[in-house]
């Protein structure tokens, strides 16, 4: 009796040879990730989609496959993983932000990479401040753990303080904020406009330290002006010693070198400079901390699916191998 076309097609889709081909294509995509940095994650979609369709077709058409409960559970968990990864790609967020000591997060990131359906309004409602951080260095210098004091400032709620570390991020409404080794010094200025406007306090986050130890300079513009102020931090003491344990901290003595066009000025904490359009007052040096932000609501479900997959796989192999001993009988050489 001839099978209906749909069933024939489904059986072709359920083919183990197709599974093999899709796995080989997936491996080729993984190799592409090794060779090139600019391969988009979306290239994973065709082989993963093909594997998902292949698996669904196998579940529908292959009765013996369905009789092996553990194997079925393993593949169903893999299917769930593929679907969850797809959902994750649509809604995830990865980003970065920098906060000077005392600075408040107001929902803005300096770099962001997010899925099409990410709910940005949740992020914009989050409020917290960094109150400072400590980082010890082993000889090298090699960074050790970060301890960053955070003040949670929920809108309309009571502020509270916590300490976050490399392994204990700040978790707010599904967003995880991780302190990182990207940190540095941050001069604090007060800009007094010449037109009598209200003074503005702000910080300038100099390049990451010690990564850019010899490039502690940055050009910036005071609010409401078109001045270009090139600012360089100068100090002579060794903050992070290569031969003994040390800690990250602002230098005890330092000065700022400012260049505005052809004009050169030097400032120490408490000093000020008259500039076109206003007076720049230098209050002192703080630290700034760089954070990575991560949001992915699928993480617990991915973990659960992975655990089910591993348990089911283990059970499948256990059932398969338990019937036959591991220690086979040796051959009788005379038979050869």
């Amino acid at each position: 009796m001839q099978q209906p076309f749909q069933l024939t097609f489904l059986k072709a889709l359920a083919s183990l040879k197709l599974t093999f081909a899709a796995l080989v294509v997936l491996a080729a995509v993984a190799v592409a990730f090794l060779w090139r940095d600019d391969v988009p994650g979306s290239v994973l979609a065709p082989p993963l989609g093909l594997l998902a369709v292949n698996l669904l077709a196998a579940i529908v058409t292959n009765h013996s496959f369905r009789r092996q409960g553990a194997l079925l559970a393993f593949h169903a968990a893999l299917l769930a993983l593929v679907l969850l990864v797809a959902a994750s790609r649509l809604t995830y967020l990865k980003g970065n932000l920098e906060l000077a000591d005392g600075g408040e997060f107001e929902g803005t990131l300096v770099a962001v990479d997010a899925g099409l359906l990410h709910p940005f309004e949740k992020l914009k409602q989050l409020r917290f401040a960094s109150l400072g951080f400590e980082i010890d260095y082993a000889p090298g210098p090699l960074r050790q753990g970060i301890r960053n004091t955070i003040e949670l400032r929920p809108p309309g709620g009571v502020p509270s303080r916590i300490v976050i570390t490399d392994h204990a991020p700040l978790t707010l409404d599904g967003y995880r904020f991780y302190p990182t080794g990207n940190k540095g010094f941050s001069p604090t200025f007060v800009w007094h406009p010449a037109d009598g406007g209200a003074p503005r306090v702000g910080t300038v986050n100099l390049p990451s330290y010690p990564l850019h130890e010899h490039g502690q300079a940055l050009e910036w513009t005071p609010p409401g002006t078109d001045l270009k102020i090139w600012t360089m931090l100068e100090f002579s003491e060794i903050i992070l010693a290569p031969d003994r344990p040390s800690s990250f901290r602002p230098p005890r003595e330092h000065k700022l070198v400012l260049r505005i066009g052809e004009t050169r000025r030097e400032l120490v904490p408490g000093g000020s400079a008259e500039l076109p359009g206003g007076r720049l007052e230098y209050r002192g040096l703080r630290g700034w901390m760089g954070y990575t932000v991560f949001y992915d609501w699928t993480i617990p479900w991915l973990l659960a699916s992975s655990v089910v997959a591993v348990l089911a796989l283990g059970l499948h192999f256990w059932n398969k191998f338990a019937a036959k001993p591991w220690n086979p009988e040796p051959q009788d050489p005379k038979e050869q």
């Binding site: 093999f20 796995l23 491996a27 993984a30 000889p139 090699l142 990575t292 992975s306 192999f317 040796p330």
Partner: protein, 269 residues
């Protein structure tokens, strides 16, 4: 005795065990109790050496190339010794396995035994879980490689003589498949534990860094090898070639990529 002297003594015992196992195959003798005793004594000394270094530095053997080689030689020897003890029928496969371990022993003798500092991202229990699963995976794969090597050597005249006592190729192939299946379970566990660690340490569970990508490739190579065996009903020789291929990818992942990549996975952040 310091930790290095204890380690060298352990390596000497491993070499004695391996040499005896190889000569036993060539000359068709059975000094199996001697081999097992040397392996066991070597493992005891090696464990002591690792413990002494751990105590002195305050961290386990997973920072420098020397430490990683040492801990892997230890775990691979342990895995193969267990197989050698519990599955007597495959003991002659030591003639294939031990040269691989000799190569690693030669490598560690050239590696700098200097101290390393534990990166901050290594201060987590997931490090032990991740590494532990990885060691079981590689150990199971090594046992499979021994069996695959026997299957591939047997068609030669000498191979047929040397390995005449071992079970038939089909049975060895089945056993290698079991080891690969066990390895697949633990490679999967290693990936899951690694993802948990990465989320903890770097704020993302997967980022396609070179070591992650190579680990995924190893997982895929295993999946392809296991699937191909079911799909195409390969002869034992083809299955053996797949086992060797998976081991090569795994070996590169474990001992090649972490030392040529400067990405965060090296733990240097």
């Amino acid at each position: 005795m310091n930790e290095l002297q204890v380690l060298w003594a352990a390596l000497v015992l491993y070499v004695l065990a391996g040499s005896a196992a190889i000569f036993a195959v060539i000359w068709r003798r059975r000094p199996e109790r001697f081999v097992l005793a040397m392996m066991s004594l070597g493992l005891v000394l090696h464990t002591a050496s690792i413990a002494m270094r751990w105590e002195r530095l305050g961290h386990g053997p997973y920072v420098t190339m020397f430490e990683i080689l040492s801990s892997n030689i230890w775990s691979l020897m342990l895995a193969f010794s267990l197989a050698y003890w519990r599955i007597p029928a495959i003991r002659a496969s030591a003639a294939v396995v031990m040269p691989i371990l000799f190569m690693m022993m030669g490598w560690i003798m050239m590696a700098d035994p200097g101290d390393g500092t534990l990166p901050s991202s290594y201060h987590t229990v997931w490090l032990f879980i991740h590494i532990g699963f990885g060691k079981v995976f590689l150990g199971a794969t090594l046992v499979a490689v021994g069996l695959a090597g026997v299957i591939l050597l047997r068609p030669t005249a000498r191979g047929a003589q040397w390995f005449a006592r071992l079970p038939a190729d089909e049975r060895l192939d089945d056993l290698a498949y079991r080891c690969m299946a066990l390895g697949f379970v633990f490679e999967t566990l290693m990936l899951v534990a690694g993802a948990i660690w990465a989320q903890d340490a770097w704020g993302r569970y997967w980022a396609w860094d070179p070591l992650e990508t190579w680990s995924f490739l190893t997982w895929l190579a295993l999946a392809i090898a296991l699937h191909a065996r079911v799909t195409f009903k390969f002869a034992p020789r083809t299955g053996a070639i797949l086992v060797i291929a998976v081991f090569v990818v795994a070996f590169l992942t474990f001992f090649g990529v972490p030392f040529i990549s400067t990405t965060p996975h090296k733990g240097a952040v």
